[in-house]
Amino acid sequence: MFFQKDIETMSRKQLEELQLERLKWTVDYCYKNVPFYTKKLDEAGVTADKIKSLDDIRYIPPTTKADLRDNYPFGLFAKPMKEIVRLHASSGTTGKPTVVGYTKHDLDLWSDCMARLCTAAGATSDDIVQISFGYGMFTGALGLHYGLEKIGATVIPNSSGNTEKALMYMRDFGTTVLVATPSYALYMCETAKSLEYPMSDYKLRLGLLGSEGCTPEMRTQIENGWGLFATDNYGMSELIGPGVSGECQERCGLHFNEDYFLPEIVDPETLEARDEGEYGELLVTTLTKEGIPLLRYRTRDITKLNYEPCKCGRTHARMEKVQGRSDDMLKIRGVNIFPSQIESVLIGMDQVSPHYQLVVRREGFADTLEVQVELVDSSLLDSYGKIQELQKNIAKRIQTVLGIQCKISIVEHGTIERFVGKAKRVVDLRKENK
């Protein structure tokens, strides 16, 4: 099923022509409407005329999250407030939030993007969809909301929190599609199982998961727990919100909405282009956005792109699931570590829950990693030996995957925080000691 088949199955040549035309437009538009870009492009000596091919994008200096923050709140807006119809803001866990503004045109392209991805995942106008992302300033909920309404699905804007009530709606309204973060989808499932209602009271068939990473193991756990088919989608508020890319039912990569967003994969240190199929940091240039156009935005997400057309018929490039963030990447004793690698080890083990916390410390001159996991298998309480064996086993598996030693701390079930929004898995105490 397609939402906009002609665009989604366009030939690579046509798509690249469209991208080039739109890239030139965006460079010119940024130059004329955003003083930050006028200065930046002048300094780099780049004008729209200098862009002769998509490769010429390399002459354009990248934009970072710090640029958005430095220009808080509206400094990067290319349109007067009169034409801005919506504001969203990022959570701003470090310093000021980043604020984004949308024109009517932007909201329309956003809902097109979402409608395409939801359709590709298998949602239809027959579905009843419960949105369990937090509404408010976060883009996730409203992004899915408008896209799903556009395809004619019935939307329940339930938001996050009050899980038992959300489960009641699910049972009583016959919800067929769940929109949630993977960790919240899993938490909802744990809660559902603890209630007196049988799982057959729930009619979920599809999960549209997003806003945080999800390992294949965690997805299997969500699918088995709920008896649904789950797809992943990707985006960020700076670019538009969710809707930048998403999986079709083939689930072999996330289709990038390439007519609206131009992706590049570069070396995170040198910013030089990586070869096709190589991992690197994803840079994205918006191609038609009016409110906040962004040139080569550094997503900090590590992934790779596949330009081969998909079995589903879509020709837009497929992005691999994000492997980690170039700034979330932990460097412990010189080894690059992504929390997702540890998650994949834990999810394969029945004795512990999939919730975990990583604590990094500096002791003397060496970094240490502590992995806190919750014990769920109470049969191990029979002897200290069994629990110590579990600790050793987890440490060994993590060492096999990461190549470093770590300390495993077993904590009580239910004591590691469950995240409704993005999970914060890492506590890095090294920064405090500097």
């Binding site: 109470s378 309480l381 029979d382 002897s383 200290y384 701390s409 077993i410 009580e412 079930h413």
Partner: protein, 145 residues
């Protein structure tokens, strides 16, 4: 042979953990007959023989505490020097290894109860009762509470 149910509770090495577990039991009218807890740096396993293990398990699970019920052997010996040594000799002489052991006294009857965790409860019970040592049942634990 009648094994007695023992509650094992996972306890993180954190301030106030043990008191909150004990409080859950008290609030549900559960009386503790015997307990044992060794210290490790991160966590401990708190083992308990209680008046009503079903009520104890229910109360702890309702409070979200990770716990399990295992069967242990409880035997009654005289509260006199040498009685414990005799019981342990019986097990040692028959090559029965102990995983852990702890004890409590019953001043009202002048006896001592030893709680024994072994791999094979039935084999240990036979050796001990053949040696003239009385095996204590779940009902007796409850009755003495």
């Amino acid at each position: 042979m009648t094994p007695v149910k023992q509650i094992s509770v996972f306890v993180e090495n954190k301030h106030g953990k043990l008191s909150s577990i004990a409080r859950h039991l008290a609030d549900n009218g559960v009386s503790i007959r015997a307990l044992c807890m060794a210290d490790t740096t991160d966590f401990g396993i708190f083992r308990l023989i209680v008046s009503d293990y079903e009520a104890a398990e229910k109360a702890l699970k309702a409070a979200g505490v990770t716990c399990s019920v295992t069967e242990v052997l409880v035997v009654e010996i005289e509260d006199t020097p040498g009685a414990f040594a005799d019981a342990m000799s019986l097990l040692a002489d028959n090559s029965i290894s102990l995983e852990y052991v702890y004890a409590f006294l019953t001043p009202e009857v002048g006896k001592a109860y030893i709680i024994i965790r072994v791999e094979d409860n039935a084999a240990a019970a036979k050796v001990l009762s053949d040696g003239g040592i009385k095996i204590v049942s779940q009902d007796e634990i409850k009755a003495n509470a």
